[in-house]
């Protein structure tokens, strides 16, 4: 039996030895388990990870010492084992010792932490600047000086959330428009908010900044590897705080330039669409999509709302009433309830026209009327 025990010990030690021989694979293994912070893809994120591991090991060490003494005491100094209580109850030299030693440990930790913090705060000489604005409940990205700006919303199917279909691999971490940035360039993020406080967080970049309405915060990242990096809003901002993720796509500089020019072209195309005359079916089906992405969260997929909190669209006075009033509500928002935001500045004329058409004809409303994008533009200009 002894030889069996010692054989398994040898095997255990051998595997531990092989394991510890490659420290990086050990860290990667742990990361795969999903129990530790990511090392990320920027020099600062690696820095932050190292600080985290440093303080973690210090804490483990302190814990081992303190708990070790406690467990020893609980075994060795039990009354049932015949232990007799000693009488000492103070020692000035011990108190000094265990005040000074922790203090020194803290200084050892504080120095690299200070260095990292100062580096994180240095946002100078950035090459790309992006204005990030938090909305309830999506993000808006504007490339400063490039005339490219778009919203980025959760694109997970509500049926996945409501457990009607299986969940995809990037459940709750996927959006309709990625934030595309170039690798190997210092990208600065200017963060603000449109309504309440949000926070923009991408763990792989080690960037987390509060988005405060009326004020600007800044942070930066220098991404070294191309890839897709996902994050989430990190400050309670209302109902769908858990449903406004962030997806950053880091690409080569060449790919970034191509993407940027495509974005500018499609913005021009969207402007042209405002002049176009759409069929009822085109408006209705586009409106259904817009409704699902922007309205269903509060007014519910079946248009019935939540009694006492979110009014129904089905059979509502506004959706079955005067078209102008319906347009006013959607474009300008509610005048006495900030929960109903103004979608005029957030959605294109095409989307607004479609969603109003949809609301007036779905849910049994069957009003038969429709709105064209040009009507929406005229409304915004004349009211």
């Amino acid at each position: 039996m002894l030889s069996r025990v010692s054989r398994s010990y040898v095997r255990l030690l051998a595997s531990l030895g092989l394991w510890s021989a490659s420290a990086t694979t050990w860290a990667e293994e742990v990361e795969r388990w999903g129990v530790n912070m990511t090392q990320g893809v920027t020099p600062m994120s690696h820095n932050v990870y190292d600080l985290h591991m440093d303080i973690f090991w210090w804490c483990v060490g302190i814990g081992v010492v303190v708990f070790g003494v406690m467990f020893y005491t609980m075994i060795a100094h039990r009354k049932s084992k015949g232990a007799k209580a000693a009488n000492f109850h103070e020692s000035t030299s011990l108190e000094i010792l265990w005040t000074v030693i922790p203090f020194v440990i803290l200084i050892v930790m504080a120095i690299p932490a200070t260095k990292s913090l100062i580096e994180i705060y240095d946002t100078s000489e950035s090459e790309v600047d992006i204005l990030v604005t938090g909305y309830q409940w999506k993000w808006k990205y504007e490339y400063v000086g490039e005339d490219v700006s778009f919203f980025s919303s959760l694109s997970t199917d509500p049926n996945e959330i409501n457990n009607l279909v299986p969940k995809g691999a990037n459940y709750l971490l996927e959006v309709d428009e990625h934030l595309v940035i170039p690798i190997k360039k210092k990208v600065r993020f200017l963060v603000t908010a449109n309504d309440v406080i949000h926070a923009w967080w991408v763990p792989a970049l080690a960037v987390k900044r509060d988005a405060i309405p009326g004020f600007i915060n800044e942070s930066w990242a220098y991404v070294e590897e191309p890839g897709i990096y996902r994050g989430q809003c990190a400050e309670l901002c209302g109902k769908d705080h858990g449903f406004m993720p962030i997806v950053v796509e880091a690409v080569s500089e060449a790919d970034y330039e191509v993407w940027l020019s495509e974005k500018k072209a499609s913005a021009a195309k969207l402007k042209a669409l405002t002049e176009k005359e759409f069929t009822f079916d085109e408006l209705y089906s586009q409106g259904e999509q817009v409704y699902g992405k922007n309205c269903a969260a509060c007014h519910q997929p079946d248009g019935k709302g939540i009694s006492g909190t979110f009014p129904a669209i089905a059979g509502s006075a506004i959706a079955t009433g005067v078209l102008g009033e319906h347009m006013r509500m959607v474009i300008n928002g509610s005048s006495n309830n900030p929960m109903m935001a103004a979608f005029g500045p957030q959605l294109s004329e095409v989307d607004i026209a479609s969603v109003i058409t949809y609301q007036r004809n779905a849910f049994g409303n069957n009003m038969g009327d429709q709105v064209q994008p040009i009507d929406v533009l005229k409304f915004k200009q004349a009211k």
Binding site: V35, T38, F56, T73, H77, K208, P213, F215, A234
Partner: protein
């Protein structure tokens, strides 16, 4: 002159007796603990699996908010006040608190305030849904109509705490038996004295911040509104100026309880009494200058960020001193492991884990990855559940025989302890992992990589909840038990409370006891 208590409901409505009032605080806090616990179970039930199954996000936010408010202001704080009311006069040899009638008021406004707060769940627009930290403008411009009742409840509860604190300070400073110098007071009395000063200093700041909120919402001011020249970040500074000392208010009495229990079951005096007093005072002082470590991502100038990082790291030193002193009290003692000792030892170990994760959080650049994730949730639940709550339960098992004259069932006590211990670790330890892996706080649904640990945490939560039903049973069974307790209850415990009969007579120390 001394007579027995009145009969019937009027006894409780009009009592000015510190034992009666202490009992009422404790029963109230137990009820709030169970209610706050139910809210937690709603949260954990929803988070059992990814997807929205049980509640909608709106209601989920109300649950997280109310869970926090009820536990902080309805369970932990009143429980400590209840213990203070029962034990401080006994421990200092005083006949009662200095201001017995104000004491009655301090208690009775609490059930009123919390009925009002709980009733917001049934109001139009629902209960407060902006987190127990209620940041503006989510809690001002975007708040549900019930926010006004929330503010009113906070004012009332704050008044209760302030009155209680004044009573405690004045009692300790004026009514100690002759010969009991400050440095002869039990550590529980010291920690409560310091806690009371903290309460007097910061509860008015909380009152100030909710008043400013009220004015922004109803009277057109712009304290926290950028459009009018205000700043949402000002809210956070004022709130946390209250909020950080508040969390020390929720732990210092725990330090006092554990410092009473460990020496009894180690049969050895508390190690380093003077150091413990100085350490507690340092913690209290430092607690005023660290508040912005709750705001590391808000966009502070780097000098401010560094200052708060250093000051926060510093608090680890006196806290460590206390832990070392408890361990030294146990070392080379003659240990037995009755239920109060089990809870106290678990306190030392698990509170230390919570404190160490706090040290990690203090490293500002690393905090950029921890802030507003489940790593923070794990940290504060470790210092609050096996921290504050366990110390309260330890105190209850330790002093209940003195209060009611009967011994509790030791086996049942131990079962409660082990179920609670396993339950809470299953619940909160995995939260460190999902937080590090990227799961934010206050979300009703999460992505798939967080699923396994969330399931474990939810199972642990239900186990912990079930264990508390056992606690209620234990307390009630003890009160009705026939198994009498002795005057000393334990083996040679220190403290004046062990010199009066069990149960303690309605009026004690009408004549001051001799102090050696």
């Amino acid at each position: 002159m001394a007579h027995g208590p009145a009969k019937g409901i009027t006894r409780w409505l009009y009592t000015t007796n510190h034992k009666d009032i202490g009992s009422m605080y404790l029963w109230f806090s137990l009820a709030m603990f169970l209610i706050g616990g139910v809210f937690a179970l709603v949260i954990r039930a929803e988070l059992f699996e990814p997807g929205l199954q049980i509640v909608d996000p709106e209601f989920f936010n109300q649950m997280t908010t109310m869970h926090g408010l009820i536990m902080v202001f309805g369970a932990v704080m009143p429980a400590f006040v209840g213990l203070a009311n029962w034990m401080i006069p006994l421990m200092i040899g005083a006949p009662d608190m200095a201001l017995p009638r104000m004491n009655n008021w301090s208690f009775w406004i609490l059930p009123f305030a919390f009925c009002m707060l709980l009733s917001t769940l049934f109001m139009d627009g629902g209960a407060p849904n902006f987190g127990w930290t209620f940041y503006a403008p989510l809690s001002t411009t975007y708040a549900p109509p019930s926010v006004t009742f929330f503010i009113f409840a906070v004012h009332i509860m704050g008044a209760s705490s302030i009155m209680g604190a004044i009573n405690i300070v004045v009692t300790i400073l004026n009514m100690r038996a002759p010969g009991m110098t400050m440095m002869k007071m039990p550590l529980f009395v010291w920690t409560w004295l310091i806690t009371a000063y903290l309460l007097i200093a910061v509860m008015p700041v909380l009152a100030g911040v909710v008043t400013m909120m009220l004015m922004d919402i109803n009277f057109g001011t712009s304290f926290f509104d950028a459009a009018g020249g205000g700043d949402p970040v000002l809210f956070q500074h004022v709130f946390w100026f209250f909020g950080h000392p508040e969390v020390y208010i929720m732990i210092l009495p725990a330090f006092g309880i554990v410092s009473a229990i460990i020496p009894t079951f180690a049969r050895k005096p508390l190690f380093g009494y003077a150091s413990m007093v100085y350490a507690t005072s340092s913690i209290a002082f430092l607690s005023f200058i660290v508040w912005a470590h709750h705001m590391f991502t808000v966009g502070m100038p780097v000098a401010g960020e560094l200052f708060f990082m250093y000051a926060t790291m510093l608090i680890a030193v006196p806290t460590g001193v206390k832990v070392f002193n408890w361990v030294s009290t146990m070392f080379r003692g003659s240990l037995t492991f009755e239920t109060p000792m089990l809870f106290s030892i678990a306190f030392v170990i698990l509170f230390t884990i919570g404190g160490l994760s706090g040290l990690m959080l203090s490293i500002a650049p690393a905090d950029f990855q921890y802030h507003d994730t489940y790593f923070v949730v794990a940290h504060f639940h470790y210092v609050l559940v096996p921290g504050a709550i366990f110390s309260i339960m330890a105190g209850v098992y330790y002093w209940l025989p003195k209060w009611c004259g009967n011994m509790y069932n030791e086996t049942m006590g131990k079962v409660h302890f082990w179920l609670a211990f396993i339950g809470l670790n299953l619940t909160f330890f995995p939260m460190h992992f999902v937080g590090l892996a990227g799961m934010p706080r206050r979300i009703p649904d999460y992505s798939l990589q967080f699923a396994d640990f969330n399931m474990i945490a939810s199972c642990g939560a239900f186990l912990f909840g079930a264990a508390q039903l056992l606690f209620v049973y234990n307390v009630v069974a003890t009160i009705r038990s026939k198994h009498k307790a002795t005057t000393e209850v334990w083996e040679n415990p220190e403290g004046l409370e062990w010199t009066v009969p069990s149960p303690a007579p309605y009026h004690t120390f009408t004549v001051a006891p001799p102090i050696k």
